[in-house]
């Protein structure tokens, strides 16, 4: 029963932003379902194939902001063929036809074409914000349409996309009347940038808070940009060819000093160490620092800079910082919440004594009481270290540890790392995301199933002994949403044990495991509400017509996900949907 008029309830719902909460609200009653869906402005769709645009529009007629994710996570690591899918065009097309008042579109791992961007730019008069993360398929021509046609554009944020750069004049396409920009990030563009156009654009955008340029923007241009945008909060620096001369350096430092609002710094993709020192005047204000692309800056220079960044909450860095560097971070950055340490040597070419080890991880856990998210690439680990980390930091929400060599045991005891990860899941009661690595047996999964009650996403590689491992996880982790497994000996028994479990999950990925074609077919038969996709780049798509013997053939890559709209029609030949 509603004791308030609908408008009042709707007003109350306005205060609830989280889509998870809104989903819960809509389950309370028919009336609440209707009020909620008619008033919802922001929709998050974690798998673009779980639903189609027509049903989305039907349910949420007031849609203003849409977030869509396409390819599975392992696509980031080249495990998914390029043509797999995740096309945004049908979505933009449907939204345009239905005259939805779209204002914001955020895409991750989707295929975007110039035509899509052109259509987007012409179809939504109030369009304000475009965020593309790890997308591909478009060129700077598409960006030109957005710049030219989206009169009210406030945010254009391009993160780590593969964009074909036609070295055109897309920056020139922002009309002179466009003054509303608050955020512009084109750091992933590889080509030249029209510096004059960029400077004019920045100069006429008084609300610009976030600016991230690409490598083509040299030092003196950066100085001019910062001089006309002292209000910047978030800056992504381009590149510097060589050491600046004294005069340029002084000018840069003067410009930086004026940016008293600057809190976040990134970029530095080709930077002589001296250039980092130009930012000393404001480094005490920084809350976020991303130097993970700064391969040219040696560890000692990094450390010298970071030791003044006392307010840092987020740090992304390369392992060239070393354990000693991390000890400095631990003693300086008491506000640190998120740390990511990336490998600088990706092909194990150098015997890198400067990489990080368990020592750095323990130091960070001891020194940073607010740490809740970590991504750590290292060459070695020990159970003792992980147990200590768990004791020091029971507040982890995200814990991702990647030991570079698969199956590597505890380097001091030669044992598996089951106990170490076990300690992590037992201590960190709020853990939502976990990536495990190193030598691991079924036991670690027993621990995960037993203790990781809030776990939503688990990434497994080269781990486990038998189906029991996967079963522990599927049976134990009630909140599991995304499970991705590669190169582990889990097979049909684990896959088929509890088909209904997949109703509660967004998706399951298994590659180079022991599941067979027969097992997958059986699953598909028992769960028509699942799309069971087999990805096989070597053969053509005649998997369905193979005879009985081939049922025992192992499946190279399996991706399954719940959906309300059945098998998708845009799958390429290398994908078979059972």
């Amino acid at each position: 029963m509603n004791y308030f008029p609908d408008e009042v309830i709707e007003h109350i719902f306005d205060f609830i932003a989280s889509h998870k909460d809104r989903n819960s609200i809509s389950l309370v009653s028919k009336s609440w379902h209707k009020i909620e869906r008619c008033s919802r402005k922001k929709v998050f769709i974690g798998n673009c194939y779980a639903i189609n645009p027509e049903r989305l529009i039907e349910r949420f007629p007031s849609l203003r902001s849409l977030t869509l994710k396409g390819k599975p996570h392992f696509a980031d690591f080249n495990l998914v063929p390029h043509e797999w899918g995740g096309f945004v065009h049908p979505w933009i097309d449907a939204l345009a036809k239905a005259r939805v008042g779209l204002e914001e579109l955020r895409l991750k791992r989707m295929v975007v074409s110039d035509e899509s961007l052109e259509l987007l730019s012409r179809s939504f008069a109030s369009f304000k914000s475009l965020v593309l993360v790890s997308c591909e398929g478009f060129t700077t021509d598409g960006l030109a349409s957005i710049a030219a046609n989206c009169r009210h554009l406030r945010e254009l944020d391009l993160q780590e996309n593969e964009i074909e750069d036609h070295r055109g004049q897309w920056l020139n396409c922002f009309p002179e009347t466009s003054t509303a920009l608050t955020s512009l990030n084109f750091s992933c563009l590889k080509g030249e940038t029209n510096l004059a156009a960029l400077e004019r654009l920045v100069a006429r955008s008084p609300n610009l808070e976030s600016l991230k340029v690409n490598r083509a923007v040299p030092l003196d241009a950066l100085t001019r940009l910062m001089s006309c945008a002292p209000q910047l909060v978030d800056l992504g620096v381009g590149s510097y060819e060589n050491e600046p001369d004294q005069e340029s350096f002084v000018k840069l430092m003067d410009a930086i000093k004026k940016c008293t609002e600057l809190r976040s710094l990134s970029g530095f993709s080709e930077v002589a160490p001296l250039c980092l020192t130009a930012f000393y005047p404001i480094c005490e204000n920084l809350t976020s620092l991303n130097l993970s692309y700064a391969a040219e800056i040696q560890g000692n220079h990094l450390v010298r800079f970071i030791q003044f960044c006392k307010r840092l909450q987020r740090l992304w860095i390369l392992d060239s910082i070393g354990d000693k560097g991390l000890e400095v971070v631990a003693s300086t950055c008491k506000e640190l919440q998120e740390l990511r340490v990336f490998p600088s040597d990706l092909h194990d070419e150098e015997d890198n004594d400067t990489a990080v080890t368990e020592i750095g991880l323990v130091a960070i856990s001891a020194g940073c009481p607010k740490l809740h998210s970590i991504l750590y690439f290292c060459k070695q680990m020990t159970n003792a270290a992980l147990i200590t980390v768990a004791k020091n930091c029971p507040n982890f929400i995200r814990f991702r540890l990647c030991i570079l060599e698969p199956n590597k045991p505890d380097h001091t005891t030669s044992q598996s790392l089951d106990e170490g990860f076990g300690a992590i899941v037992q201590a960190c009661k709020g853990l939502r995301r976990l990536s495990v690595s190193g030598l691991l047996t079924d036991k670690v999964f027993l621990y995960i199933g037993m203790y990781a009650e809030q776990l939503e996403m688990l990434s497994i590689a080269f781990a486990g002994d038998t189906d029991k491992g996967m079963l522990y996880v599927l049976n134990g982790c009630k909140k599991m949403r995304k499970l991705e497994i590669r190169d582990s000996p889990f097979g049909n028994a684990a896959l088929l044990a509890d088909v209904d479990k997949y109703r509660t999950m967004r998706s399951l990925w298994m590659s180079s495991c022991e599941v067979t074609l027969g097992g997958c077919k059986r699953l598909a038969r028992n769960a028509p509400w699942l799309n069971v996709e087999i990805i096989n780049e070597n053969e053509n798509n005649d998997l369905m017509e193979r005879n009985e013997e081939d049922e025992r053939e192992k499946v190279d890559r399996l991706y399954l996900y719940r959906t309300v709209v059945g098998a998708r029609k845009d799958a390429p030949p290398c994908v078979t949907i059972l």
Partner: protein, 189 residues
């Protein structure tokens, strides 16, 4: 790693072994253990090329086959770090050359030279000066001009001290210093 594990098991047995030899002269396991601890203590921010050789015997494994999608680093990130390495090792290694007092800089390709004398000759021709003779201890004698270069660490070094290949791979730019500044580098003038 497995070697260390095996050693751990056998260390106690070894202690009871009757051996001829002074205490502390054990080879095999002890050495490896020491190497392991060496590696740990050498993990500083600055790379130490000499120590690399020591650790090679401990951590080196047979050349690893490239596993698809491993380590789990986004392709975008992999490509961007790679590009940097390739750019510096690609066609030609062009570095800027400045000369004190000259109105503008020049650029030369270090890879076209095979040794220092060739490079010096080319620089001398380009800027119409003479560089004097190089001595290991005293540096350059007989000229007020001294060739210097900036290395990867951002330090200014005297050209000629390190082997040619090392110079080419670490040289970021060249500067021909002149006059009073030059004294500190031991020009012997």
């Amino acid at each position: 790693m497995e070697n260390v594990g095996v050693c751990d098991e056998f260390v106690n047995l070894k202690a009871t072994e009757l051996r001829l030899g002074l205490p502390g002269t054990e080879d095999g396991c002890e050495e490896e253990k020491q190497k392991v601890s060496c590696i740990k203590s050498n993990k500083r921010a600055l790379p130490e090329p000499e120590k690399n050789n020591e650790s090679k015997t401990e951590t080196a494994s047979p050349p690893k086959a490239q596993i698809v999608g491993w380590p789990p680093v986004r392709s975008y990130r992999k490509n961007n770090i790679q590009t940097k390495k390739n750019e510096s090792e690609g066609q030609g290694m062009y570095v800027k050359v400045s000369m004190d007092g000259a109105p503008y800089l020049r650029k030369i390709d270090l890879t076209v030279y095979k040794q220092y004398p060739e490079l010096m000759k080319s620089l001398e021709n380009m800027f119409k000066f003479s560089v004097g003779e190089y001595f290991e201890r005293e540096g350059y004698k007989g000229s007020e001009f001294v060739p210097t270069y900036e290395d990867k660490d951002g330090d200014w070094m005297l050209v000629g001290d390190v082997p040619w290949e090392m110079f080419v791979s670490s040289c970021k730019r060249l500067r021909i210093m002149k006059g009073s500044e030059v004294k500190g580098l031991g020009c012997g003038v």
